[in-house]
C-alpha cells in the first residue's frame, strides 16, 4: 500500500460523501472505502500532471447542437403497469415514508 494512499481522502470525507450519495455505509465499509478510494484517487490524480491551460473540457464527444422535438403529445406509459412495479402505492400515487422537514 503506497505510503500516502490515505492522504487524498479521509474517513471524515468518506462520511460526508456517503451522506451526499445517500449510502448508509457500515463502519467497516467506510473504512474500506477510505483505503480504496485513496488508492484509486492517487492513480486518477495523475491527470494533474498534464498541462491543460486553455484546453476546453469535452462534455460531449459528438459535436451536435440544437436537437429539438416538436411540441406534440405522445402516448406515455400505462399507469397500472408502472404502479405495479412500485414498492408501495396508494390512490394512484407512490407511497413513501414521511419526508423529514416537510410541512403539510
Amino acid at each position: 500500500m503506497p505510503a500516502d494512499a490515505g492522504s487524498r481522502i479521509t474517513r471524515a470525507d468518506v462520511d460526508h460523501v456517503a451522506s451526499l450519495a445517500r449510502l448508509a455505509l457500515t463502519d467497516d465499509e467506510a473504512d474500506a472505502l477510505t483505503h480504496d478510494l485513496g488508492v484509486i484517487l492517487e492513480h486518477a490524480a495523475r491527470v494533474e500532471a498534464l498541462d491543460t491551460d486553455g484546453v476546453p473540457p469535452t462534455a460531449h464527444p459528438l459535436p451536435l447542437r440544437n436537437v429539438l422535438r416538436a411540441d406534440e403529445v405522445r402516448p406515455g406509459v400505462d399507469r397500472d403497469e408502472v404502479l405495479a412495479q412500485a414498492p408501495a402505492t396508494e390512490d394512484g400515487r407512490f407511497r413513501v415514508p414521511p419526508v423529514l422537514g416537510e410541512t403539510s
Partner: protein, 490 residues
C-alpha cells in the same frame, strides 16, 4: 416586534431580489411528449422519461426554446451564442431521477431589465429547468405508530419552467409587489404562461437582507419561500424586514438560512432542513447537447412579441387621453384592455369607455370572478351604452343601473332601456309642462328663492329640481331641465 428608538437607531435599507419560477404553457413537458396539463388524475401524464426510469433519455421541446427566447426578448436580455443544460444533484422523492435538469453556468438568457413604475429593475438571468412532481403529506394520527407518510404524483415532473432571477434591486415590499405585478403582466402578454399564482404556474422566492442605508456592501441574506399570492409576498417581506431589523438593532447576527412564510401565523419560520448550504455537484448534462439559438430563432422570438404592457399603457394614455393610473388598471387587469379597445373600435368614445371599464365593469369582474372575455355583455354592448349616454337618451345615473343589468344578463342596453322605459326625457315641451306644474304647486318655494341669498337660492333650486326629477321618475335630461327651470325662476 418593537424597535427600540435608541439614540443611534440605524436606518436599515432592505435589499430584495426575487426568483420567479414560471410554468410555460406548452402542450407537452420539457423533455418528453407527456401532456403539460394541470389537474389530471395522479400519474396519468407520465412516461419513462419524466418518471426517470432506467434507460430513459430527455429530448428538448422546441416550443420551450421559443418561449425562452421570447421571454429573453421581452426582458431585453442578452442571449449568448450557446447555453448548456446541467444536472443539479439532490435526493427528494418528487424528483424521479434524484437530479434536476437545469442550467447553471451557461443559462439561455442573461443581463436584462424590467421597467417597474418607471425604474429599471435588473434581471440577472433567466434559465430553463424541469419542474418536480408533487408530494402530499398524509397523517399522522394520534397514535404513535401512525407517523404519517407521503404520496407522490409525477404529473408535474418534467413540466417546463423558466426561472427568472432579478438583481437585488428592490428596496421594499411594495417595490417587490410592483415587480411581480409587472412581470406577471408581461409574461401573460407575451403568451408564454397563464401565470396563476394560485395554481402554481407562477412561484416566487425572495432573498432579503438589510444594510445600513448608504452602505454599498450587502448584508447576510435570508431566503423566503412559500408565498402563494401577491398579498402573501407583501406581508412576508414586511415581516422579514422587520424581523431582521429587530435582530440587527439588538446587535445580533442574521443567520443565512431558508425560511418558510406561514400565512396563518403571519411569520417566517426557519427550516431545520438538511438541504441548507447544499452541494448540488452541478455538471454539464451529458444526455443533452448545447442549445445555440440561430439568427432565425432569435428573429422569430422578437417578432412574436406582442405589444408589451408598458408600451400599451403609454399608447392608451396618449391616444385616449387617460391618466397613468387608469391605463395601469386597464392593462394590468388581464383581458380588460382588450375589452375596452374592442368597445372603442365599435365606435364609443375612449375616455367614457375607460371610465366605465375601470369603474363599474371592474367592480363586477371582481364580484363574480370572471375574466373580461367571459362577460355576458360584449364590448359592442358597452359601446352602445356609451352612445346612449352621449346622445342624451340615458342619464349617467340610470346608465349605471342599466349597465349592471346588462352585465348580468348580456342584454343590449337599448333593449333594457326600451323595456323599462328608461329613455331620458329630453322633450322640451314635456319638461316645460312638468316644470310649470311644479312651479305652480310650490309657489312659496319660488318666492323664497327669489327673495333669498345665494345659500337659500341653492337650497330652493335643489328642491325644485328634485321634485321635477321625481315627477319624471329620474328620466329628465338634467341639462335641459336646468335651463328650463332657470327660465321660470328668472
Amino acid at each position: 416586534m418593537a424597535r427600540t428608538e435608541v439614540v443611534t437607531a440605524t436606518a436599515w435599507e432592505p435589499v430584495i431580489g426575487l426568483e420567479t419560477h414560471v410554468e410555460l404553457a406548452t402542450a407537452t413537458k420539457l423533455f418528453c411528449g407527456c401532456a403539460n396539463q394541470f389537474g389530471a388524475e395522479p400519474n396519468t401524464n407520465v412516461c419513462p422519461v419524466c418518471l426517470g426510469l432506467p434507460g430513459s433519455l430527455p429530448v428538448l421541446n422546441a416550443r420551450v426554446v421559443e418561449f425562452a427566447l421570447r421571454i429573453g426578448a421581452a426582458l431585453r436580455c442578452r442571449v449568448p451564442e450557446q447555453s448548456i443544460f446541467a444536472r443539479k444533484n439532490y435526493f427528494y422523492p418528487d424528483m424521479p431521477k434524484d437530479y434536476q435538469i437545469s442550467q447553471y453556468e451557461e443559462p439561455v438568457c442573461i443581463d436584462g431589465t424590467l421597467d417597474v413604475d418607471g425604474r429599471a429593475v435588473g434581471i440577472e438571468r433567466a434559465h430553463i429547468e424541469e419542474d418536480t412532481g408533487k408530494t402530499v403529506h398524509v397523517g399522522g394520527g394520534g397514535r404513535i405508530h401512525e407517523a404519517g407518510y407521503s404520496l407522490v404524483d409525477y404529473n408535474r415532473a418534467g413540466v417546463p419552467l423558466m426561472e427568472i432571477v432579478s438583481r437585488p434591486d428592490l428596496r421594499s415590499a411594495e417595490e417587490a409587489r410592483a415587480y411581480v405585478t409587472e412581470l406577471r403582466a408581461l409574461l401573460e402578454a407575451i403568451g408564454v404562461s397563464d401565470v396563476k399564482m394560485e395554481e402554481g404556474s407562477l412561484r416566487i422566492d425572495a432573498n432579503v437582507s438589510l444594510r445600513p442605508a448608504g452602505d454599498a456592501a450587502f448584508g447576510t441574506r435570508v431566503e423566503v419561500k412559500n408565498m402563494n399570492s401577491l398579498r402573501s409576498l407583501g406581508r412576508a417581506l414586511e415581516f422579514e424586514i422587520e424581523r431582521q431589523a429587530g435582530l440587527l438593532d439588538a446587535g445580533e447576527r442574521i443567520v443565512q438560512e431558508t425560511r418558510h412564510w406561514d400565512e396563518g401565523a403571519g411569520v417566517t419560520h426557519g427550516l431545520r432542513s438538511k438541504e441548507e448550504a447544499f452541494d448540488y455537484r452541478y455538471f454539464p448534462e451529458p444526455d443533452l447537447v448545447p442549445l445555440a439559438p440561430d439568427a432565425e430563432m432569435r428573429a422569430e422570438a422578437a417578432a412574436a412579441l406582442p405589444e408589451l404592457p408598458a408600451d400599451r399603457r403609454a399608447r392608451l394614455s396618449a391616444d385616449w387621453g387617460i391618466d397613468e393610473d387608469m391605463a395601469r388598471i386597464l392593462v394590468g387587469t388581464p383581458g380588460l384592455a382588450e375589452y375596452a379597445e374592442a368597445a372603442v373600435a365599435a365606435g364609443a368614445a375612449p375616455v367614457a369607455v375607460a371610465r366605465w371599464c375601470t369603474g363599474e365593469v371592474l367592480a363586477y369582474l371582481h364580484e363574480v370572478r370572471v375574466a373580461p372575455g367571459e362577460l355576458a355583455l360584449l364590448p359592442d354592448g358597452l359601446a352602445e351604452l356609451v352612445a346612449l349616454v352621449d346622445d342624451g337618451t340615458l342619464s349617467r345615473k340610470l346608465a349605471k343601473d342599466v349597465l349592471d343589468e346588462c352585465l348580468r344578463t348580456g342584454e343590449h342596453p337599448s333593449a333594457v332601456v326600451k323595456a323599462r322605459g328608461l329613455a331620458q326625457v329630453s322633450d322640451e315641451g314635456e319638461l316645460a309642462a312638468v316644470l310649470d306644474a311644479i312651479v305652480a304647486d310650490h309657489a312659496d318655494v319660488v318666492a323664497a328663492y327669489r327673495a333669498g341669498d345665494d345659500k337659500v337660492k341653492k337650497k330652493k333650486r335643489g328642491f325644485l329640481m328634485g321634485a321635477a326629477m321625481k315627477a319624471t321618475r329620474g328620466q329628465a335630461n338634467p341639462a335641459l331641465l336646468n335651463r328650463l327651470l332657470d327660465q321660470r325662476l328668472g
